[in-house]
Symmetry: C2
Subunit: 669 residues, 2 copies
């Protein structure tokens, strides 16, 4: 270890102790223990341009043990990213990609960063396969990860690791901070497996460094080795001392709380620093790190020159790439979305979704996705699709865009976040709607970070029938609607399915969930691709209406049929289709009150928990229990999802409000 290297590492350590204490939160131990590996990665391996953190061929660095947040913010500060010393003093609890350029993904919920890195590596391999040409290595970056014990205990990381091994992602290099400590204490309490053996079983290349506190040459050599292994992801287990320097080093006491002022002072003295100086960065350390930015700027300049030559030689590919990097969709892509009339046959919305994918997959080439082993059910595969697989398997290649996620819903969602973070691609993934909750940890981060990820969720209600209550979502739409910054779209027919894709793709900083039926649905009168974007709209209007019936997805046609029954009795019903609460909530109050005019009671029908529907309806036909196993029509009848029952609820509601004032669902305090 050279003097400057040691000085830099100790600067990181003392700075980490100071920052955590100042913020009165965060975890000092891991940043101090991981300082040597971070030093090696940022000084020798990671190429990035602090002046342009989004340069597409940068190496990605992901801190999966996000509670070591301060380490990442310190490295960004030292490397010259736009993280000032004042920012550093207010380092958040966990890295926040949506707020700080240079942070690739928001981490903290354990295992997520690790799984994101698999998406990042997939993107790198795919874009390299697609755009690289002889002499034009436009994509040759690596994804580097630091992870702790906690992440490796999480199921989402296990799923992602198995997938990464299967896909032979050679551009993925994980440094495992093996500090033997978790919050409860020594890992002997709960985590005694042989981690490297497990990763070997997944098909990873594994290495071990026994003295990660001091053996920088060893870490360097291991990362160099890992880079040479191009057909396997790599994990390097690095034994470190958590909170090194502290009087409590190597124990859980340094894990989750700030160190005492006295302890910090002693650490500084031990490392040869002035114990009275806080947030101190020696000038020579500042000077030393200047080279990071210079190296990165040069790399980007060289890359831009390469791209310029590429433009001449491969104008078509270059145009595609440049368009993607500008985050613009192809012109007129939406013209490819199919449109329907009521005379078109009844079709399940999952099938209509498949039609959309077939129409747009080649027009919007950045779409990349698959299913968690439910391809034939989710109908996520388009006709020209090729599997994303390592070429040696002969069942696909890295140019392929159909990802076989396996039965790994949580990893699928986290991998999609990693793909979205990488840039140049739009990920989608399918499973049954009920199993989006298996993936919730990652879905939540799609929303929090604002990633354009498409969740294609089929079998979206008790209407899936025979699979029974274990597979029938009840609470799922309420959970999604309560989650900020995510679009939930439940289209009622073909036009609304096209509208749902239009909304999903045009929302660049918001994930979307498409809730799609297993069962066939008729093409509705007055349904509309464009009106879908308003979230809710009038399908059937009538003067002096007695009642408004509102439905979503498969229940809209039931509402339409209920309206027919009511009309035959001289009752005047309106019908509203409401594919998206979120989009509707964003409309003007004038528009919303035209959809739900004051004075007219509203009955909702949705084969889902009624929880939350009091916002828009006075009475509900919905679910208050789990579902049941049986043919879909019987199940629907059992729970009252029939025109007859909806009509009965409408009559009851009209009677209830006779002579009473009807509460407005739009005008509220």
């Amino acid at each position: 270890m050279t003097d400057i290297t040691a000085l830099s590492i100790n600067t990181i350590r003392t700075l980490a102790a100071d920052v955590v204490r100042k913020a009165n939160s965060g975890h000092p131990g891991a940043p101090m223990g991981c300082a040597p590996m971070a030093q090696v990665l940022f000084s020798k391996f990671i190429t990035g341009n602090p002046s342009n953190p989004y340069w597409i061929n940068r190496d990605r660095f992901i801190l999966s043990n996000g509670h070591a947040c301060v380490l990442q913010y310190i490295m960004l500060h030292l490397a010259g990213y736009d993280v000032t010393m004042d920012d550093l003093k207010q380092t958040p609890g966990h890295p926040e990609a949506h707020l700080t350029p240079g942070i690739e993904v928001t981490t903290g919920p354990l295992g997520q960063g690790f799984a994101n890195s698999v998406g990042s590596a997939i993107s790198g391999e795919h874009l390299a396969a697609l755009f690289n040409k002889p002499g034009f290595d436009l994509f040759n970056n690596h994804t580097y990860v630091i992870t702790g014990d906690g992440c490796l205990q999480e199921g989402v990381a296990s799923e992602a690791a198995s997938l990464a091994g299967h896909l032979q992602l050679g551009n993925l290099i994980v440094l495992y901070d093996d500090n033997h400590i978790s919050i409860d204490g020594d890992t002997e309490l709960s985590f005694t497996e042989d981690v490297l053996k497990r990763f070997e079983a997944y098909g990873w290349h594994t290495q071990e460094i026994t003295d990660g506190d001091h053996d920088l040459n060893g870490i360097t050599a291991a990362v160099e080795n890992a880079k040479k292994v191009t057909d396997k992801p790599s994990i390097i287990k690095i034994r470190t001392t958590i909170g090194i320097g502290s009087k409590n080093q190597g124990t859980e006491k340094v894990h989750g709380s700030p160190l005492s002022a006295e302890d910090i002072a002693n650490i500084k003295t031990k490392f040869g620093f002035d114990s009275d100086k806080h947030f101190y960065i020696p000038d020579e350390v500042r000077e030393y790190w200047r080279s990071f930015g210079e190296r990165g700027q040069k790399a980007e300049n060289d890359w831009n020159n390469l791209l310029n030559s590429y433009k001449d030689k491969y104008p078509e590919e270059a145009a595609d790439l440049i368009r993607r990097l500008s985050n613009k969709l192809p012109n007129n892509w939406a013209a490819a979305l199919p449109r329907y009339t009521p005379s078109d046959p009844a079709v399940a919305t999952r099938k209509l979704s498949e039609t959309v994918l077939n129409k747009i997959a080649d027009i919007v080439p950045e779409l990349i996705g698959g299913s968690a082993d439910l391809t034939g059910s989710n109908l996520t595969r388009w006709k020209t699709a090729v599997d994303f697989q390592h070429p040696s398997t002969n069942i696909g290649n890295y140019k392929g865009k159909y990802i076989r996620y396996g039965v790994r819903e949580h990893a699928m969602a986290a991998v999609m976040n990693g793909i979205a973070a990488y840039g140049g691609l739009i990920p989608f993934g399918g499973t049954f709607l009920n199993f989006i909750t298996y993936a919730w940890g990652a879905v939540r981060l799609s929303a929090l970070t604002g990633f354009r990820v498409l969740y294609i969720m089929t079998h979206d209600s008790i209407g899936l029938g025979e699979d029974g209550p274990t597979h029938q979502p009840i609470e799922t739409l309420a959970a999604l609607r309560a989650l900020p910054n995510i679009l939930v779209l439940r289209p009622a027919d073909g036009n609304e399915t096209s509208g749902a894709y239009l909304a999903a793709l045009n929302n660049h900083h918001r994930p979307s969930v498409l809730a799609l039926t297993r069962q066939n649905l008729p093409q509705l009168h007055n349904s509309s691709v464009e009106k879908t974007l308003q979230g809710g709209y009038v399908l059937e209007e009538v003067d002096n209406a007695d009642i408004t019936l509102v439905g979503t997805g498969s229940e809209v046609s039931i509402a339409v049929d209920a309206a027919k029954l009511l009309k035959s009795e001289g009752i005047k019903p309106r019908v509203v289709s409401m594919p998206s609460f979120e989009l509707f909530g964003e409309q003007s109050v004038e528009y919303r009150s035209s959809v739900f005019p004051d004075g007219i009671p509203v009955v909702s029908v949705e084969a889902m928990s009624t929880y939350g529907w009091d916002t828009y309806s006075h009475a509900h036909v919905g679910m208050r229990t789990f579902g049941t196993s049986g043919p879909y029509k019987e199940v629907y009848k059992k729970y009252g999802f029939t025109p007859e029952n909806v009509a009965a609820k409408a009559r009851e509601t009209i009677a209830f409000y006779k002579g009473k004032s009807v509460p407005s669902v739009i005008f509220r305090p």
Copy 2:
């Protein structure tokens, strides 16, 4: 293979094909392929009493690949459980423990059954350590599992497998149906890891059977070996042919759809059956299986005799065991719940929960639980707790009741389901409220199956402060409230925390989620242990009220302070505490309308998504975005959770309804 064994296996296979076709759902392939291993398990190893499916020392059988449901129902039918041929013809899509005695756990969502089995095995080891005495092996049963590829790809199973290996659960024996086929096709598409090597890394004993279609002796010997390994869980990889006998055997075509009538006829012919006979069970097969029930009845009789002798020798232990098995809590246990007065100091509800655990852990000895590596944060460990660990570790023993779940939230919840299913124990587990969604797949099954599981979820809002938005729940309570058959309890102080435990323990067939604060809360005037059981109640009443303020948990005291501000201005506020929507919803309409009287507008305050609050309040102080990282008081202020802002919202609401009729929140169509 003897003739009768072969006949029995082929009976299972043809019956599976018939049943799946009749129900027009389900999966014929796996039941047909798994018939030999099921034959071995049920004829040679599993002891159970069809006349008393809940006999506590039965062997447990869990079908983790729940889509092979028909296999389990057929085995129960053959073995003499109360599954008639008519029941069989209506086999549900997945095993439903809440409907069919003999089914131990509801499976189908992949990985759950596998993880449940770890809970089952923990229970077996714990109760054996607790109650067995020399000559009295009251608990010596095994937990047998059949699992497929899908389960082993799921993160929840990986987490559980790592935990089971750590805990050295020798009574757990898993048969892995390695049929190389998932829904998408050959497992080469996505699942190419070395499964046995992975399990070795977890510390499991592993074996392999290469011809699982025919090598019954091999399977038998392997299970016998596994039983001999008492300090490791065992997995036996058994290569089978999915849908064996079908023209499409060994392919994904036999996975998820009924076989054609023609194919079934050919299978029957191939297996020497009459192709015209449906649901056919040869008499000799019926006769053969009679011994299962006889063997089980004898085993239970012997066990009852053993228990009778045990009663004489160990009366105290016997009384405890018999009480547990009768599913009764100890007399007067609730008298131990602490009660508070307003002069008691302000304390965080997580800390109050710790106090409750300390008071009741020894009085209610069937409580067994821990935390997903957040012990010091969740405060789930009581003073006399001993770790549940393998005795060889010297850090605990199998009598211990504190489970170190590791950073494995999903497995923790699924393991708790397995413990609840076993009987004689009440499981609880802790993590941050936000991470209950990591465990949702299992939480949902707690609710669906009706298991008394206690989720002790701390850091229950943006009030956790510095950890930031990745850890701050927003959508979580809405999701839980929308889930059927689960109690959500968010106590406001000490009395309500005691009330929450009272409700949770007294709900024998419903899981509970306790949402507890990180921050301190004052002891409220008029709060009550008993009123907590009504879900919502009036804390402060006033004649001719202008407004009702309703809060939950940490926001109740803010509502109380807001009421003081309003009173100082001459406004008359009522205050309602609402710890549980579910319990409140179960009260009489008279009671509910006394809590929310007509004509008085309601303002709610809860540091959580406002989604769903339109049911009980006209205006809300709540969250509509993600939170932020910072000190709790600053974060609360930023989002309006202050007495001043609640008072302002109250004034606004009163003004809004001035001269207008106020919609009733109780009387609805």
